[in-house]
Amino acid sequence: MSGANENSAIETAWCPGCGNFHILEALEHALDTLGTDRRRLVLVSGIGQAAKLPHYAKANVFNGLHGRALPAATGIKMANKKLLVLITSGDGDMYGEGGNHLVHAMRRNIGVKAFVHNNQVYGLTKGQASPTSEPGFVTKVQVDGVLSAPFNPLALAVTLGVSFVARSSAVIPDHLQTMMQEAIRAKGFALLDILQPCVTFNKVNTYKWYRDRVKELPKNHDPRDRDQALAAAMTWGDEIPVGVIYRGARPAFEDAHPILSGAPLVNAFTQTPP
């Protein structure tokens, strides 16, 4: 493998016990199971603990700015739609700083897979609330606890008719791997919200907390039914449904677009990049 960069040689900088390890492992298994050509895989992220993941996998890496994984991924996919463009980034990154991009990437339904490590906290910056933190969550900045309602990315995705909307968790790695595979197989935009324990800064949503609550969607859940999907997306409490919540019927941006639906744009310059 001439000139290849063995990323997996890089030492991980996560805390022992962090949920991110399970996500990384599930991703590697999912990619291996699918037989993904790693040369055609681009892992995109912003900044955060989750966002370090691309450095630990075997893949091309675009590790951009905090909150801006989505536009970067969109640019990559537009430029070369033959690439598998997969985002692995944090809840702060994707739902906070990057919130507007999320809305509009989902409106486009561009064929990018977004795996959001939702630990309900800002890990890298040492424990402030994230957009999905539980109301009442106390931190050094939220000294009186979080007052705002948690953001519901899945419900938003359903209202926008996104191709693939699912939830899983680092505490159920096999399920997570399956969801990843499904997300990668789906056309169009895929949002996979991954509940992830942060053992250092989130003492509320622990492994146990998630394990006690995650529950697979019933067999008869119809991901093509928007109302059922919305109901599932809005369920959060003693039970948190995991699985494929919604499958929208809209075409992927790259298939619907009159220019993009032709040859990959990059072909105009190079048929076989080095």
């Binding site: 493998m1 001439s2 000139g3 290849a4 960069n5 063995e6 990323n7 890089i10 900088a13 790693r38 040369r39 055609r40 681009v42 995109v44 900044i47 370090k52 450095h55 075997k58 893949a59 091309n60 890496v61 675009f62 590790n63 951009g64 700015l65 801006r68 989505l70 536009p71 970067a72 991924a73 969109t74 640019g75 990559i76 996919k77 537009m78 430029a79 070369n80 033959k82 690439l83 507007n100 991009h101 809305v103 509009h104 677009h257 009159p258 220019i259 993009l260 032709g262 744009l265 990059v266 105009a268 310059f269 190079t270 076989t272 990049p273 080095p274």
Partner: protein, 555 residues
């Protein structure tokens, strides 16, 4: 000789299409055309105007005074009549004759021709060519071309309306002295179109912009060309997304650009720094208008240069090009992509409302695709791992794109040569030095300023769009015996102070700038190229004219 025709009226009255029609007509006649617009930030009402200046030689500036004023409503006539030249003539769109103007009921004439009020422009244009002493042929030809797609009837009605306008001012033929056709090129461009063609032929395949006056002309022109050149022109959700998307596209090997104005550019500063760090070739087109904040959305300015030069946190190489005329707009747009790819760093192409809206007839721009060199790496040496950020003498590393043999790794955090995160202090120094070394290479390709007509004791120092007005002003001043020349910079960043200093040594420098502080002169001083200068500023939102500069220099 030159003649200035000004169309004025409320937004929504068709000032722009009227002016367009005249500009095209005159260009097709072989007259030299220089047409500029002045409009308000509203869709209806107010007073907009459109100047079509024609001449027997190439024109470089608009004129202060109007030889022929065509007012679409009385309000605009009242405002504009103060600018009428000695012997100037006014045409007013009205039924009431009896003032010091020619009354012309344009919509009535159009209706009489069997058409709609929308054809009033054709009638008005007919009157204009008559008063200027031209015949109807060129106008008729232009109208035929313009409306041929809409069918024979529409064409006929327009031709008839033009003829009726022509006849309506019978007795006043040639009332306004006008230049003779002079073999000027018939191809008329505006700045936006020149830039769009430059980008499209250079190989830009992704355009990602949030609309913002006065940059939207380029965006719209690119959208119009998207099928011809196979470009994806997508509207951004906001300007923050734009440079990040461009970085993604460039990472994957496709030239991409965005278009914006000051406020939108401000939102791109972080992404600009990202392109510097990831060493990605992206091009940002910045069309300036007066700030701060929302400022004057439809006016012109050169007030964002200092910001652009220093925009983005941290230190990284960046190139700023600022074309001075339409051909340069085309050339430098292409060059922006060339330099961005050669040096793997962001390029900002700076223009303003004046230049993007400016219309001139120039020799046809080559519009066949002629892609720039992306400077992609050849296959990496066998056995040697590919390193995206290999430290090299000139600071430029071999750039591969994903999908090939090698993994491409890019990180916005400090990284080692392979692209992966590093927090090693020596790596930081090595990589920072590597990036900054590119500046030497860029300076080697610095585009020399144009000295017009020849070195003189006094220098009108200018950059970007003020080229034309300054050049014309130099002619006016020299005609008065003044030992003055123009020094115009089409490339304004980075600057090599030592190399440029001799240009100014022992000369009196007047910085002509569309801002209040002399931003470019200050950059030159910062670089060590210049010490003293006097400032000839303009920041009321209007473009410089040769006469404005002449008056200020003499005062």
């Amino acid at each position: 000789m030159t003649t200035n025709i000004r169309i004025c009226g409320a937004a929504g009255q068709g000032v722009q299409s009227f002016g367009d029609l005249l500009a095209r007509t005159f260009a097709s006649m072989g007259l030299h055309v220089f047409a500029t617009q002045s409009y308000l930030s509203r869709i209806r009402g107010g007073i907009n105007s459109y100047d079509v200046r024609i001449g027997s030689e190439e024109l470089f500036s608009s004129a202060r005074k109007t030889d022929l004023l065509v007012a679409l409503n009385r309000e605009s006539m009242e405002q504009e009549k103060a600018n009428l030249a000695l012997n100037g003539v006014m045409i007013l769109n009205t039924a009431e004759s009896g003032g010091n103007y020619l009354a012309l009921q344009m919509d009535k004439l159009a209706q009489a021709a069997g058409g709609t009020a929308r054809m009033a422009n054709s009638a008005g244009a007919g009157a204009v060519v008559s008063v200027l002493g031209y015949d109807l042929d060129a106008l008729h030809k232009c109208l035929t071309e313009e409306f041929s797609k809409k069918g024979r009837d529409i064409v006929e009605q327009n031709l008839d309306a033009a003829s009726r306008g022509y006849r309506a001012v019978a007795g006043h033929e040639g009332l306004v002295r006008a230049p003779k056709p002079a073999g000027a090129p018939s191809t008329l461009y505006d700045g936006s179109t020149a830039i769009a063609i430059g980008a499209a032929t250079a190989g830009v395949k992704i355009v990602f912009s949030y609309p913002m006056t006065p940059s939207s002309g380029v965006l719209t022109a690119l959208a119009g060309l998207s099928h011809k050149y196979g470009m994806v022109v997508e509207q951004a959700e906001d300007e923050i997304a734009a440079p990040n998307l461009l970085c993604g596209a460039a990472f994957a090997g496709v030239p991409a650009m965005t278009t914006t104005s000051g406020g939108g550019f401000a939102l791109m500063a972080e992404g600009l720094s990202l392109a510097g760090m990831l060493e990605l070739p992206i091009v940002i087109f910045l069309s300036m208008r007066p700030g701060p904040a929302t400022g004057m959305p439809t006016r012109t300015a050169q007030g964002d240069l200092a910001f652009a030069a220093h925009a983005g946190h941290g230190e990284f190489p960046k190139i700023i090009l600022a074309p001075g005329d339409l051909r340069q707009a085309f050339d430098l747009t292409r060059h922006a992509f060339e330099l961005a790819h050669k040096f793997q760093t962001p390029v900002i192409l700076v223009a303003d409302q004046f230049l993007t809206d400016l219309q001139k007839n120039i020799p046809a721009l080559p519009d066949a695709p002629d892609y720039i060199n992306l400077h992609l790496a050849k296959k990496s040496a066998p056995g040697k791992a590919y390193e995206r950020y290999l430290v090299t003498d000139n600071g430029v590393s071999p750039r591969a794109v994903p999908g090939g043999d090698s993994y491409v790794v890019s990180a916005s955090d400090m990284h080692a040569e392979g692209g992966h995160l590093s927090e090693d202090f020596n790596v930081q120094i090595a990589l920072q030095d590597k990036r900054m070394r590119k500046i030497t290479g860029i300076l080697n390709e610095f585009i020399k300023p144009e000295i017009y007509p020849e070195p003189a004791g006094e220098i009108l120092l200018c950059w970007g769009s003020t080229y034309g007005p300054c050049r014309a002003a130099v002619n006016l001043l020299r005609a008065r015996g003044r030992d003055v020349c123009m020094v115009h910079f089409p490339m304004v960043w980075p600057l090599d102070g030592a190399a440029l200093a001799p240009l100014f040594e022992g000369r009196r420098v007047i910085a002509v700038e569309g801002n209040g502080t002399g931003q470019f002169a200050l950059l030159l001083r910062q670089a060590g190229a210049l010490r003293e200068f006097s400032l000839l500023p303009r920041y009321d939102g209007l473009p410089f004219t040769a006469e404005f500069i002449e008056t200020e220099v003499l005062s």
